[in-house]
C-alpha cells in the first residue's frame, strides 16, 4: 500500500475506525431491514468504504460533499453520528432530517453533507453549484460530488463538467465504479472510457484502486489541495465493489453476477481487511488494537439503534411544516 501524507498513527487509526464505522452502520441497517424494523428499502455501502473515507479524510468540515442513494458511507465519512443517522433511517423526529428524508435523502448540513439523492446523477449540479458558491463568496472550500458508474450515463454530468472546466470550479467528481448499476454490468451501459469523457472537457482525470484507502487518500489530498488553490476541477474514477445486492431486498443475484466474484472481492479485496493488514505489518497497530476499535464501534451502533428504535416519530402536525422556509 502506498503511504499517504497522513502518516501519523492517530490519523491511520482514525481512517481505520471510519471505515469500520461504515461497515458496522450498514450491518446494523441491514439487520433492521431483515427484521422488518426499518421502513422501505436501503442501499448498502459495504465494500466501498475506502472510497468515502479516503476522500473525506482529505476534506475539512466546511468542505462540501453531495451523496447518492447509496449514501450512508459518505454521511459517516463526512462526520455524521450514528444516533441521528439511525433515527433518520427509521423516520424518527431526531433524525438528521426529522425523519422526512430517510435513507435516500439523508443530509448533514453541520458537516457539509448536502444530502443523498434518490435521482441518479441528481446531485451533480448541486455539487458544482456548491463549488460555484465557494468561488463567488471567496471561501476556499472544495466540494466532492460522489456518484456511481451508472450515473455517468446521465447527461447532466457532461453539462456541469463543461461549466466546471470553463469556470475552474473547486469541485472533484468522484465516480465510484462498483461494476454495476442495479442489475447491469458497467460494460453494458458505458461505451468508451469514463475518464476520457472528463478529459475531453479538459478535466484532469485519475483512476485509482478504490479498495486501497491510502491510495485514495493520497490522491485526494493532492487533488483537494490543488482544487483549493483554484486548479480544479478534477475527476477520479475509483474501482470498487458493493458486497450486498443493489438494495437490501436484492437477494438472488446470480443472474447478473456470480457468487465467486462476490467471494473474491470479499475475501481478497476487502478495504478494511487490507488496511488492517497494512497497519499490522507496519507495526502501527496490533490485531487487539483493531479489535478494540471495532468493538467500541459495535457498542456505539447498538446503543444508537436501540435509541432510534425507542425514539418518537415526528408529530403529525409536522406533515406540512418545512414545505416552505420562513
Amino acid at each position: 500500500m502506498e503511504n499517504g501524507p497522513n502518516t501519523n498513527t492517530d490519523e491511520y487509526l482514525r481512517i481505520y475506525a471510519q471505515m469500520a464505522r461504515i461497515r458496522t452502520f450498514e450491518d446494523n441497517a441491514n439487520q433492521l431491514y431483515l427484521s422488518a424494523k426499518m421502513p422501505g428499502l436501503t442501499h448498502m455501502y459495504s465494500g466501498q468504504e475506502a472510497v468515502a473515507v479516503g476522500i473525506c479524510e482529505a476534506l475539512r468540515t466546511t468542505d462540501k460533499v453531495t451523496s447518492t442513494h447509496r449514501g450512508h458511507g459518505h454521511c459517516v465519512a463526512k462526520g455524521a453520528n450514528f444516533k441521528e443517522m439511525f433515527c433518520e433511517l427509521l423516520g424518527k423526529e431526531e433524525g438528521y432530517c426529522r425523519g422526512k428524508g430517510g435513507s435516500m435523502h439523508i443530509a448533514d448540513q453541520s458537516n457539509g453533507n448536502l444530502g443523498a439523492n434518490a435521482i441518479v446523477g441528481g446531485s451533480m449540479g448541486i455539487a458544482t453549484g456548491a463549488a460555484f458558491s465557494a468561488k463567488l463568496l471567496g471561501t476556499d472550500d472544495v466540494t466532492v460530488c460522489f456518484f456511481g458508474d451508472g450515473a455517468t450515463a446521465q447527461g447532466l454530468l457532461y453539462e456541469v463538467m463543461n461549466m466546471a472546466a470553463l469556470w475552474k470550479l473547486p469541485v472533484i467528481y468522484a465516480c465510484e465504479n462498483n461494476g454495476y448499476s442495479e442489475y447491469t454490468k458497467t460494460a453494458e451501459i458505458a461505451a468508451g472510457s469514463i475518464t476520457a469523457r472528463a478529459e475531453a472537457f479538459g478535466i484532469e482525470a485519475h483512476t485509482v484502486d478504490g479498495q486501497d484507502v491510502l491510495a485514495v487518500n493520497a490522491l485526494s489530498e493532492r487533488l483537494v489541495a490543488r482544487a483549493r488553490r483554484g486548479e480544479g476541477p478534477f475527476f477520479i474514477e475509483l474501482m470498487t465493489y458493493r458486497y450486498h445486492g443493489h438494495h437490501v431486498g436484492d437477494i438472488n443475484r446470480e443472474y447478473y453476477r456470480t457468487k465467486d466474484e462476490e467471494k473474491h472481492w470479499r475475501d481478497d479485496r476487502d478495504p478494511i481487511t487490507l488496511f488492517a493488514r497494512h497497519l499490522m505489518s507496519e507495526g502501527i497497530a496490533t490485531a487487539e488494537d483493531l479489535d478494540a476499535i471495532r468493538a467500541g464501534i459495535k457498542d456505539e451502533a447498538s446503543a444508537a439503534v436501540a435509541y432510534a428504535l425507542a425514539a418518537k416519530y415526528p408529530d403529525v402536525s409536522e406533515v406540512d411544516m418545512h414545505v416552505y422556509a420562513a
Partner: protein, 331 residues
C-alpha cells in the same frame, strides 16, 4: 374467471401485442434479464430477444428521445420509466417533442409511443420515489393519459395504448403490482375515454382514479353500512376524459367527491371538479369536493406519509358530511 396480478396483466398485454406486431419493442433500464425492479417484464426478453426488450443506461432523457425518434419512423416503442418521479427528467422529450410532433408537422408525422410508469405513495420511498404526476402530463395537449385501477384495466388499457397512434402515458399504481383481479383469458381492449361505473348509487358520486378507485369502493362499503348509497366511477383515462358519464352521475346524485392521489392543488381533482361544476351546477346540492394528496413533498416517515393520501375512512367521512349538508366550505 382466472385471477392474475396487475404485473402479470401488464406482462400479458405486452407479450400479446409484441407477438401481434413486430414493430413493438420495450426500452428502459433493467427491462431485459432483470425484468424491471418490480419484475413486471419477467420472461419477455426470453421470448422476444434483446433487440426488442432493450436494456438502457441510466439516461431517461436519452432513451425517451430515442423512443420518440423510433416512433416517428415506423416502430411502436413502449418506454419503461422506472418511477413516475423520473418524468421530470424527460419532460422535454415527452412534452416538447412527442406531444407536439403530430400537430407541428400538420398531421404528417406520428408518434405512437407508450410510456409506462407508475404513481403512488405509502411505500416509504420518500419524496423522489412516491409522486403521482399524472396531472402534469394531462395538461399537455397531444398526450393521452391512462390510469388503470386493476389488473383487468391494466391489460385492456395497455393494449389500447400500444395500438393508439399517439403518445400515451400509462401510470400504474406501484402498490397494486402484486394485487390480483379477474382477467379473462382471451384478448380484449378497453377503449379510451369511456368511464367505468363500478357501482351504482343514488346519494353521492365518488369519482376515483387509479389507486383511489379502490379507496372509493371501500368508502362506498363503509357508507352502505350507514345507509348511504354511493355511485363509484373510474374515468380510466383522464385524457380523453369521459365528461358525459361523470356529469350524468353528478346530475343523478347531486353530490360529488373527486379522489386522486396527485397533489390536490392544480391537480386532477380540480379539473374534474371544474367540469362537473360547470356542467351540472344547477343539479348539485353542494360543489364537487376535491380530495387529492396533500400539497407537501411525500415525507419518508411512516407517521407522516400515511396521512398525506386520501383514505376510505376520510372519503366516507367527507361523503357523510356532504350528504348531511354539513360541508363547512359551502357556507
Amino acid at each position: 374467471m382466472r385471477e392474475i396480478t396487475l404485473s402479470q396483466a401488464v406482462n400479458e398485454a405486452l407479450a400479446e401485442e409484441m407477438r401481434r406486431d413486430p414493430t413493438v419493442f420495450i426500452i428502459g433500464e433493467d427491462v431485459a434479464e432483470a425484468g424491471t425492479p418490480f419484475k413486471v417484464l419477467s420472461g419477455l426478453v426470453e421470448e422476444f430477444g434483446t433487440h426488442r426488450v432493450v436494456d438502457t443506461p441510466i439516461a431517461e432523457p436519452g432513451f425517451t428521445g430515442i423512443a420518440v425518434g423510433a416512433a416517428m419512423t415506423g416502430t411502436r416503442p413502449v418506454v419503461d420509466l422506472m418511477f413516475g418521479d423520473f418524468l421530470f427528467l424527460i419532460m422535454d422529450q415527452l412534452c416538447n417533442q412527442a406531444a407536439k410532433t403530430h400537430y407541428m408537422s400538420g398531421g404528417k408525422l406520428n408518434v405512437p409511443l407508450v410510456l409506462r410508469t407508475n404513481l403512488g405513495a405509502t411505500r416509504r420511498s420518500a419524496a423522489q420515489h412516491s409522486q403521482s404526476l399524472h396531472a402534469l402530463v394531462a395538461h399537455i395537449p397531444g398526450l393521452k393519459v391512462a390510469l388503470p385501477s386493476s389488473a383487468y384495466e391494466a391489460k385492456g388499457l395497455m393494449k389500447t395504448a400500444i395500438r393508439d397512434n399517439n403518445p400515451v402515458v400509462i401510470f400504474e399504481d406501484k402498490l397494486m403490482y402484486q394485487e390480483k383481479a379477474p382477467v379473462p383469458e382471451g384478448e380484449f381492449l378497453i377503449p379510451f375515454g369511456v368511464a367505468n361505473v363500478l357501482r351504482e348509487g343514488h346519494d353521492i358520486t365518488l369519482i376515483g382514479t387509479s389507486s383511489m378507485v379502490q379507496v372509493c369502493a371501500k368508502a362506498a362499503d363503509i357508507l352502505a353500512k350507514d345507509g348511504i348509497s354511493a355511485e363509484v366511477i373510474d374515468p380510466r383515462t383522464i385524457v380523453p376524459l369521459d365528461e358525459a358519464a361523470l356529469v350524468k352521475s353528478a346530475k343523478k346524485t347531486s353530490r360529488v367527491i373527486v379522489v386522486d392521489e396527485g397533489h390536490q392543488s392544480f391537480g386532477v381533482t380540480s379539473e374534474i371538479a371544474s367540469r362537473i361544476n360547470e356542467k351540472a351546477f344547477y343539479h348539485l346540492d353542494a360543489p364537487a369536493l376535491r380530495m387529492g394528496a396533500m400539497d407537501v413533498p411525500v415525507p419518508f416517515s411512516p407517521a407522516l406519509e400515511d396521512i398525506t393520501v386520501p383514505t376510505p375512512e376520510g372519503v366516507a367521512e367527507a361523503a357523510r358530511k356532504l350528504v348531511r349538508g354539513e360541508m363547512i366550505h359551502a357556507a
